[in-house]
């Protein structure tokens, strides 16, 4: 009984980091480098991305295993540069708005091998200037990114490797299945992706979640090793049920493929884009977005 009492007392003392999407975006500035967690069209913090689209933010650099986050920010003219391992909608292999931005030359880009991208995040998370890898030797990754340098092993082998620089982030946005108000995040799906590294690589990390639960209930739905985002790496928590829509967020929900197809089709048709934008993206809050979704079905 005494242990339980103390556990509650400690939980009660923990900081409350709850905020709204718009409060998160008000902390972002023009020209910032922003990391976005998830992978392709999987567990993306879409309610936060839409809040960025509604804002006056501009000239952003976004760092992501890209999906509709990068596509939407391209379509809305928010990006100066995209840094990515790929930009895909998974069931649609190439993000159509990103394709358009690349073909029209609308954005600067840093395209890296998918594994090399992981090392850039990890270097930033660990506060080292780079991590070495063989990935890129002999390929055009080095031609496409002339700022990349190689490094020679200081040991007897003397091997030359590519030095993937740290992607230090001004802010990171991630979406978790569950979190507590203090910012401890939990993933319940099959893959954390690289969200813990995004959180550690950023000066400020904002976490949206399907549901905020009391700390003492964090183990109700998943074992201890699903608690991969400790609150020391989070600065804000936004409760956003269906906050990853239309990307997938298992086990809470799968990808909304019909909605994704509709979104993808807007890349070819300016009128369709305007209709999509006014119906879904201009919704002034996540709650209003959910209402617009409800009106669909």
């Amino acid at each position: 009984m005494r242990g339980r009492f103390w556990a509650r007392a400690i939980v009660a003392a923990m900081v409350d980091k709850r905020m709204t999407e718009d409060e998160v975006v008000s902390e972002l500035k023009d020209g910032m480098t922003i990391g976005i967690g998830g992978w392709g069209s999987r567990r993306k913090p879409m309610s936060l991305v839409r809040a960025m689209l509604r804002s006056d933010l501009k000239d952003l650099t976004v760092v992501a295993y890209g999906g509709p986050d990068i596509g939407l920010l391209c379509a809305a003219g928010k990006l100066r540069r995209a840094v990515y391992g790929f930009v895909s909608l998974d069931s649609i292999p190439l993000e159509p708005h990103f394709r358009q931005a690349r073909q029209s030359g609308a954005i600067e880009f840093t395209e890296l091998d998918e594994g090399a991208f992981y090392l850039g995040l990890m270097a930033a998370a660990h506060r080292v200037p780079f991590y070495p890898t063989r990935a890129g030797l002999g390929s055009d990754m080095l031609t496409m990114n002339p700022e990349l340098r190689t490094v020679t092993s200081p040991y007897d082998d003397g091997e030359e490797l590519v030095a993937i620089p740290a992607f230090r982030l001004d802010a990171a946005l991630i979406h978790m299945n569950r979190a507590d108000a203090a910012g401890n995040g939990q993933f319940l799906g099959p893959d954390l992706y690289f969200d813990d590294l995004f959180a550690m690589a950023a000066d400020k990390t904002y976490l949206s979640t399907e549901k905020i639960v009391p700390t003492e209930n964090l183990l109700d739905e998943g074992p201890v090793h699903t608690l991969r985002i400790p609150r020391i790496f989070t600065d804000g928590v936004v409760e956003a049920p269906r906050g990853a829509h239309f990307t997938e967020c298992p086990p809470d929900y799968g990808r909304d493929e019909a909605f994704q197809r509709e979104y993808a089709a807007t890349a070819r048709d300016p009128e369709a884009w305007e209709a999509f934008r006014s119906t879904y993206l201009d919704a002034p809050s996540h709650a209003e977005y959910l209402k617009a979704l409800e009106a669909r079905s």
Partner: protein, 255 residues
């Protein structure tokens, strides 16, 4: 009861993809694309039982299961989130079979862009994992539309480096590089020549050497003594048609 004579081109290609994994033993078999996926599963179900196989959604299933059915029951033998997949790439215990929008005589592959990468005429998938794959472990390719547009004299972007790039890089950086096989809708190709130029390993039944030469923008080695790609066995046909791809998803890659 099916007989080998009834095998169609998609099934011949599935078996040719499976053959690329022969001898690989206990590594991660990681084909991308429907025909290679059916091929990889066929290799494991027959002559290469020690392979482990990814469903590309974070688990390694130990049983044979059909393509295109997300609800197919799986016996999970391990967990491989993407981070672990990259760790496996760097460990070398993997053989990937990727697509190639363009491939040249040295095996340089392009899936990144057509035209100047700075502002491409056509943005393709991007580099994806190709640079890391090629420099770390064995790679094969599947090209379902063999033509002078896909088998080119020079690729626009090198996603996966070929043997000329590796010669230039030299040792020790190039020591894990191997482009094992290129399977197309016309034949099977490898780099088993003195200078690692692409050579015809076999041509598919019903295809002529002239057809292959005409559909290839560069000079192929091995045109004088090209063998014929082997036909699927009865058991392989049964596995492809009844177990691994009963819905015929593999046929969609031939247009």
């Amino acid at each position: 009861m099916s007989t080998p004579a009834e095998a169609t081109i998609d099934e011949i290609c599935v078996v040719a993809c499976a053959e690329a994994f022969r001898g690989d033993g206990e590594i991660l078999c990681n084909p991308i694309g429907t025909v290679p996926i059916v091929g990889g599963r066929l290799a494991r179900a027959t002559f290469e039982p020690d392979l482990v196989y990814t469903d590309t959604v974070s688990v390694l299933p130990a049983n044979n299961f059909p393509v295109g059915d997300p609800d197919a029951p799986k016996v999970v033998e391990s967990w491989v989130p993407y981070r672990t997949v990259f760790d496996i790439v760097w460990s070398g215990k993997r053989h990937v079979m990727m697509g190639a929008s363009q491939i040249d005589q040295w095996g340089n592959q392009n899936i990144a862009a057509i035209g100047d990468f700075r502002q491409p005429k056509a943005q393709l998938l991007g580099l994806r994992g190709a640079p890391g794959n090629l420099i770390n472990h064995t790679t094969s390719y599947w090209v379902p539309n063999h033509s002078t547009r896909s088998f080119v004299t020079s690729v626009d972007v090198v996603s996966g480096p070929g043997y000329d790039r590796m010669r230039e890089l030299g040792a020790p950086g190039n020591r894990y590089h191997e482009v094992r096989r290129v399977v197309s809708n016309l034949g099977v190709f490898d780099f088993q020549t003195d200078d690692n130029r692409m050579r015809i390993a076999s041509i598919h039944p019903g295809v002529t050497v002239e057809q292959v030469v005409e559909a290839t923008a560069f000079e192929l080695a091995g045109t004088d003594d090209a063998a014929e790609t082997r036909l699927p066995t009865d058991e392989e046909l049964r596995l492809i048609r009844e177990v691994l791809d009963p819905g015929g998803a593999r046929k969609a890659e031939f247009r």
